[in-house]
Point group: C2
């Protein structure tokens, strides 16, 4: 019998996060203050973030120690198992070896707690009692709720109203962990009231929810804001994923030719790929890192590399990143976590420097891949994660055609237990590819030229 | 940092199931043919079960080899992790050590695939192409769907109509794994049509769904019936749970004083406890095994030990077991998997012989325990599982009062990702204890005297 699971003992869990800023050939451009458009300093961020995270945001230390208290919580589910996908390989008839890292084993069901726990810890240490955040489908909100629960902090979640109504299970999960969840737009913030004044029946959007959460945090001394992707410190915290994979693959004498992750704001892709990009940059290893996007929101594939806001209301600092424009409204697809107009500045810079690749896929192919995976490996992936699976399958089939026994590693970033409506739609033939019209992307990007 | 997870390597996974029939001080009473009321022979069962399972049903071999093909599927998620519940212990302030076995890591989310995979394998080996079954809330149906998917068999699930409507996610999950799921009662069987003729709007019941599934299997040569609990071979297959625990506790130099499982038909309780009862019977170990029931359906605590039918329609063989009467209709509680009038004959005999104990709890205390567990250990348990947690917490608090450092092991039989509506109700104060009136239990049991 072949061993399927490669288990790293708890005692061998990485004790440091890897900071790719130490190794990038070209440094990041600084974020800009949205009002002055001058480089933003720590003081621009200290109203909503603790100094420890602001320091991580700009650090050039290669490795940053993970606090003992964070390791202690990580050990609830980490190290996460690495699987060899024997059944998938067999079904594809590929000579490639496929490995996947199962981040869905966290209590919240995805990789998001890796940063939520760290952020809660640093905020708690800075005397903060309460965190506010936004959530779309609920993966991030439930992760922060879990983290705040562990550090005995209050957690206020502005959940996009349409998700609040359509995904009640995620809301319940947050409440089980003690969070206060509100359907955004609310009457509790000026930004929420402004939206409701114009449209009392507004379904909300991630952009609106971010504005409400930031406003809530900025207005209270005991409260900070917490973001689940995009920022450098978030990417940093996720690198435990790739570092574990590194050790696990070593245990079976393997090194990946391909490292694959789905990519919305960039955090799970960064988490699995950065520790291997370390080897690529420093030791010239030939590993290829592939970020996978939806065709409906092809930020890296079709966006511009320029300064843009993180939100629709233009409250956030300007970030140098690949973007489809902060006004870009992606069509409604089931992978809600990948519907973001921008991209992590770190991932963006690496893409611009040719160190990583991007692929974009339509929904139909993605769900076909999700079904193939569910019926071979058993685990039901989240629709976001299924993008990585689709790419892994495609690469494996390319290996089959070329007769090459390559090693593929992808991140199973989350399970799909709360996404079964999407599977239902797929099985009923209701899921179709949604190509976003190129002219609208062009128009949205053109409007960016005026910003800086 | 203390190690939380005790991981048994795949190569050390048990290779045999443990058959407690070899060690019981008093043997089981034989099942009776429902028509003749004479002991049922293999020929009474061969219309719907393969001979290999019928042989296991009556075997007195102490250990039965697990086929390589079954081990191969088990290794998708087995050995499952054993956790030390440090955070729960700390919250309780108990000197007791609490361990839990996480069976929720299977793709279907519970221990049920342990027998589903074995049953699919033996049926496939006997040339059967199709399995039919019933499911209530969907835990069993999704496990059999998963198993049939692996052995490339068709799977037909009669799902109680009210669950089909109220728990669409479980239905979707079965369909993802390729099963055909129908809202029972259907027009496809005589038993379904009979019910619909009387009540076209019937919400269905487990009893009706069993009748439809048995009828479907009996009427087709290529189809057998599959049951997820109660029968001896089901208990047998689940013993891999307790055997793994045995090895895992040995790895940390522990042996349990208490082994706890929730108990509906008995399979997860049997799975975790039988391998320790082996030691109790043969080596006089002082381990106490506690089966935990809902107060609303207190089969062991308040039932009679007598012959009864497994279903409302009286199609099944008569089994000697603890029962509340096949007419007993438990009140609607959220732990749907524990709403069964009868009990595994093996568990029943052991209870009658004083080798195991039973406790019954009301819903309120059970959900309070579920919340305590979710907020300490992170994992959201199924409402059924929360009964075992409630008992584990109670025992731990008894240890605290007595100042005793006992070792408690319980089975975390499944996650609650599809049960969040119940948590919602609890948080909204809508969950109350439901005591079933004693006189109705007495009445239902009294009617049994006429059977044999």
């Amino acid at each position: 019998m072949k061993e399927r699971k490669i288990i790293l003992p708890e005692k061998d869990m990485p004790r440091r996060w890897y900071n790719i800023q130490a190794d990038m050939p070209n440094p990041l451009q600084p974020p800009l203050n949205p009002a002055t458009k001058k480089p933003a300093g720590p003081e621009d961020l200290s109203a909503i973030f603790p100094m420890a995270l602001i320091e991580q945001e700009v650090s050039s230390e290669r490795f940053i120690d993970i606090p003992e208290e964070v390791l202690n919580i990580y050990s609830m589910w980490r190290p996460s198992p690495l699987y060899r996908a024997y059944k998938l390989e067999e079904a594809l008839g590929t000579p490639a070896k496929i490995y996947y890292k199962h981040e869905g084993v966290s209590p919240a069901g995805s990789h998001k707690p890796n940063t939520a726990v760290a952020q809660a810890y640093y905020n708690k240490a800075a005397g903060i009692k309460r965190l506010s955040t936004e959530t779309g489908a609920g993966q991030w909100g439930s992760s922060l709720a879990l983290a705040c629960n562990y550090f005995d902090m209050e957690c206020k979640v502005f959940m996009v109203k349409i998700s609040y109504t359509q995904k009640p299970y995620r809301r319940s999960m947050m409440e089980v962990w003690g969070a206060d969840v509100y359907a955004s737009p609310t009457e509790m913030t000026k930004s929420g009231r402004d939206v409701l004044a114009k449209d009392a029946d507004s379904n909300g959007s991630l952009g609106i929810a971010i504005s409400e959460a930031v406003e809530d945090a900025a207005g209270r001394d005991d409260t900070n804001y917490s973001l689940g992707s995009v920022l450098n410190h978030v990417m940093l915290h996720q690198t435990i994923i790739g570092q574990e994979c590194h050790k696990q693959l070593e245990m079976v004498g393997e090194y990946p030719d391909f490292v694959i992750g789905c990519c919305g704001g960039g955090s799970n892709f960064a988490g699995i790929s950065f520790p291997f990009l370390h080897d690529k940059i420093r030791d010239d290893r030939k590993v290829r890192a592939i970020a996978v996007e939806p065709e409906a929101c092809p930020t890296l594939s079709k966006g511009a590399f320029t300064y843009d806001y993180g939100d629709v209301a233009m409250y956030t600092p300007l970030l140098m990143m690949y973007t489809l424009g902060h006004d870009f409204m992606p069509p409604g697809i089931h992978a809600g976590g990948l519907r973001y107009h921008g991209e992590s500045p770190l991932v963006s810079q690496l893409y611009n420097d040719g160190l990583i690749e991007a692929r974009a896929y339509g929904q139909e192919g993605v769900f076909e891949a999700a079904l193939t995976f569910s019926r071979t490996e058993g685990i039901l992936p989240a629709p976001e994660t299924a993008h990585a699976i689709k790419a892994a399958i495609d690469v494996a089939m390319e290996c089959k055609e070329a007769g090459e026994e390559k090693t593929i590693l992808f991140n199973l970033s989350g399970h799909g237990h709360f996404d079964l409506t999407a599977y239902d739609d797929y099985l009923a033939g209701k899921i179709k590819d949604v190509d976003y019209p190129q002219e609208l992307i062009d128009q949205s990007i053109a409007s960016l030229e005026k910003i800086v």
